[in-house]
């Protein structure tokens, strides 16, 4: 798990969530994708549409919105 350093100097505030994504977590218990990674999520005024598109693609391919675990270094 690697995160980037943000300095206190004025800069675009972004959010990096250290997350683990699973496309299936509910009743089936099946994890087709369980991958730890840091995701640049953006914020309300500057959402990261690239990472959102990736999640939307996972939803389109799997039929389920990715389940997200935020854990580890960032929390």
């Amino acid at each position: 798990m690697f995160t980037m350093t943000l300095h206190r100097s004025p800069c675009l505030p972004i959010s990096l969530l250290n997350i683990q994504v699973s496309t299936h977590m509910h009743a089936s218990g099946e994890d087709r994708l369980a991958q730890g990674l840091n995701v640049d999520t953006g914020n309300n005024s500057h959402p990261n549409l690239f990472s959102r598109d990736i999640f939307d693609l996972l939803y389109q391919k799997s039929g389920a919105h990715p389940f997200i675990r935020v854990g580890g270094t960032s929390t």
Binding site: T3, N44, P47, T73, T75
Partner: protein
């Protein structure tokens, strides 16, 4: 190796500040020793509106320190209020058998002591975060635990 090291600063303008102690065992891996987050950090949860979430409450670095529990509870409360009914669980701490290695617990920290710590944090989150929540989240049966690194025979059982 990952540890729970987040600290919420309500007046912080930047979403996230990673601080590194160059003498720590994890800095060379790019793992921060302290992750300070401000209110903007939580806006990141809004980027995936269809997703459900599990959030790990810090039970590592700030355990037992003044304000540590209260700060962890504040973070949990903000996360809950952000993702609301899409919150599936709170995880309490991460890879506890490695906590002594990172000086977050004494060297002889045991599984039994971890369970006591886990129960005390679960009780605190239930009472101070989940109790009376307006999102329909269970107030007590809402926790994931025992997220071990898996290399220690004594902890694996």
């Amino acid at each position: 190796m990952r540890r729970d090291r987040v600290w919420y600063n309500a007046t912080q303008q930047t979403a996230q500040i990673n601080e590194y102690d160059p003498t720590s065992s994890t800095a060379k891996y790019g793992i921060a020793d302290l992750v300070s987050v401000g209110p903007v950090w939580f806006e990141g949860f809004n980027n995936f509106p269809g997703s459900h979430w599990s959030y790990q409450v810090n039970m590592g670095k700030t355990f037992g320190e003044p304000g540590g529990l209260e700060n962890a509870l504040e973070v949990a409360r903000i996360v809950m209020d952000t993702v609301q009914e899409r919150l599936e669980s709170f995880e309490l701490g991460n890879e506890p058998e490695l906590m002594p290695f990172f000086v977050h617990r004494p060297e002889n920290y045991t599984l039994e002591e971890y369970i006591d710590d886990w129960k005390s944090y679960a009780d605190a989150v239930s009472e101070n975060v989940l109790k009376g929540n307006p999102y329909g989240l269970a107030e007590t049966r809402f926790f994931q635990g025992f997220t071990f690194a898996g290399d220690d025979e004594e902890w694996r059982g």
